[in-house]
Symmetry: D2
């Protein structure tokens, strides 16, 4: 199928939808789904995601070339995303398996459509789970002395394998700004709390101490402000005084993996537009 | 504000969105929100809801007149709905107060934008609650002998007050086909179960007997098949073996009122399109 | 019915349940429900709530007198609560009606069993809603200059009417330590965020700015640390980028009233034991 | 740890808790958790689950021998369950992997404490997933001609491996009464609908046709009435008109696996008591 998605953001103004849909009609595109949102119809920011099918596949860059006129007229920030380009996802993991296994299960069941050229870990523990599915596993240990070198090794691998975006599937390391800059809004993290509650370390311990009655997990894009990047998806579960910290962790794992898998799916389907420090999720 | 909504359904085919958005742009309409859905992009049914603002209010029927060309071209089923026409909602109630009070609270707080020209009940019990808000309350008793006459009285009142749609806020009577025919897809009921489980009478008693661990409520449009009309909204709550039938009823009331209020809001904002026996909810 | 509840906390140690249930059996009590929890079976803190029925009502203080032996043996913190003593609930409110109306609806429907000798407000706005149910409404305006005097007036009214506990139903004033000390773990507040996220003022505005995908409400006992008292109940609802601050408030009101009503019910049924800054909720 | 659980059901009557807790105290048992429920304190059925630790492990059958006196006095239905007897779980599966993988993940992570001596399937497809964890996989094809023989082979394997209970992890075959009789209230099924809605075949197709807005899954003990056995746990997820049958299945898989894993955990911890056709879940 020649399925394509067009993502747009620009100043809201009359005629955008007419111009875009006219353009698509002219190019024999059949609109499958269309979503739009405006922060304020008078002078706010307008966001749009249109998914359409072309009668026949167009040459690379042809559609982009043709669309430039429309885009310039409305001063759009825009991109086409082609469904036949399968996105390449790099997974980073430490010792906990639940988020990794969840992604791998969705991947093998076809719910998550992506290529996974590699999994990188600072521990060797999950090698077998990864290699059992014929995915290369790279063990790159990290300690205080080698962090910069380790990140350079990681980056080289990611570039070599043309990775489009990175998923931190409970990767218990903080990425340096030098690393993050290479993948702006393309590193998806899962934080094991209902952000902005319990930012930083040991959220379940702190949730237990505070005596909350609901715990959560948050998937967000990584920025240089720890746990403060744009939120993609959140989930929660009820708990009680009976649940000690270990039980909060056990209950939380279910939410973490669900929330992360949802966020990855949304990203893969180009449903997330980042604007300032927030997401529009279509 | 000159806000208008356009609702469309037709055979899916290329060019619909382009034609509609071109029409709106030509008529100086600024699109606020737009939703569409197709049962199948190749030859399915296409549904659309566009909310837009006109620069200045147009004469009655002018927009309709102009749109006819577009509509005929695609053989659309269509209508414009004008936000400055406040819908007139008739409420039917029996003895239970929770759904009625919920609607009245949302109404007085401005969350539900409607006129309520009358409340009709087969019991006098809730008169004070209604009249305290200066809404006329009509007590029309119903028994086996007078049902037809009572419904005729109800219909006369509804017509007299130009009621647009009816909400059965736990009205414990079954409306006759002769009544329903006057308000197709315009009578909203709340059934106190998670349909299609426990259709018909005494759902909480049957839920208790079955030992379900979740109970629900369902808001749907009334058709002549009892509890089988198009579902607008459903909600659920967890229960346990500890909850006897009375407690299921108490817990259920919270869900019933929430679900009904949501369904009424969706209807008021023209977000519900009925197709065959299902709803598209934008 | 001669229904009584016994609440216990003490150092966990062997024989507590045997001693308590033996005592109750000796006194012809039929146990209806019993819950217990221990922070750690070896040397932790043990909590228990037993609800039972007496064959015939016992003289005041007789049961307490008899139980002293058991209590001393295990160095218990304990109290009996008699269901035939209907608790007296004072409600504080400002201008928003939803939490107040929720409590009043549950009260008139019999779901909340309490006496409401008075509602106190720093605004006259909700007088009619309260007086319509024959509940006295006291308008006590508060500004920077009269806060101490106002609180003294409030306290005098509360004492005069033998109020057992206070519900802050969106009362937009901070109570002074001098006030709070009179009702330790007996003032129930509803905070309009998912604590500990967004403590303090304007939580919905801040939730909107952060771009969270779920909002919440928290009911807790009031202490002298703002929004940091023991949490009784929390609730959440999903939101999206489409919801502006006003819509977050509208959506949040539903959660706030549900969470507060649940917390009040739990308190009324003596289901909440406070230990350190957390609650055990049976 | 010498942890033991005692499960009791009997006619409600005064003195049960006193007698049981006295017995445990006498035998140096430290109660960890205790739950009870009575269908009606005057003459209903009383249910109890007590989890306790013995100072030192008692000889087999010694506790049972001692308890007989108490049990006879109240005509109890009762059993002790010893945590050091790890329950042996047989898993039946067909071609879908999600419920199987979920159980295996919880098992390897230690959340589910059980021995899994075998997995039986009527398809060879999931052999590798099972054998990768060193669990024997038995492929027993079933068709119309060999059902009885296949069930006999299954039963022989189950007996040979001392299987305590069976989990049907989306096993798409109906067990015969001759099979079920061997494992009364010991076969846990997951049905892919919110029972009693959509009993029988193709629930997602029927949910789509009905246009429900919430789908669910139900875990229950298998009886000879298809999908009518005692419900252990239910879960739900919201859906919309946008979700076709395949998407309902995809969404439903998440609920199915969560609900089944919860039900299996409850069973393993002896938290489920079946009475008539319902469960008490402590």
């Amino acid at each position: 199928k020649h399925r394509v998605r067009l993502l747009i953001s620009c100043q809201d103004q009359p005629g955008i939808v007419a111009a875009v849909s006219h353009f698509l009609h002219e190019n024999q595109a059949n609109i499958i789904q269309s979503d739009q949102y405006s922060t304020d119809p008078s002078g706010g920011i307008f966001f749009m995601r249109i998914e359409f099918e072309l009668l026949e596949m167009i040459e690379p860059n042809k559609l982009e070339e043709k669309f430039k006129g429309v885009a310039q007229r409305f001063q759009m920030d825009w991109r086409f995303s082609y469904a036949n380009h399968i996105k390449r996802m790099g997974i980073f993991v430490s010792q906990q398996d639940h988020c990794l296994l969840e992604l791998l299960w969705h991947w093998r069941s076809g719910d998550i459509v992506a290529d996974i050229p590699l999994v990188i870990s600072n521990h060797p523990k999950l090698r077998d789970d990864v290699e059992a599915l014929d995915i290369p596993f790279h063990y790159i240990p990290i300690d205080k002395t080698n962090k910069q070198a380790a990140e350079e090794t990681q980056l080289a691998l990611l570039k070599e394998h043309n990775v489009d975006f990175i998923v931190l599937a409970r990767y218990m390391q903080i990425l340096s700004p030098e690393f993050v800059v290479h993948y702006p809004n393309k590193i998806i993290n899962i934080h094991h709390s209902f952000l902005p509650a319990f930012m930083g370390a040991r959220p379940y311990e702190r949730a237990y101490e505070r005596g909350v009655k609901i715990i959560g997990a948050t998937s967000h894009y990584v920025t240089n402000s720890l746990d403060e990047g744009p939120i993609i998806k959140q989930g929660v579960k009820e708990v009680s005084h009976k649940n000690n910290t270990n039980e909060l962790k056990r209950i939380g794992r279910i939410t973490e993996r669900d929330v992360l898998a949802d966020a990855v799916s949304l990203h893969l389907e180009d449903r997330v537009i980042v604007y300032q420090n927030k997401t529009i999720v279509f």
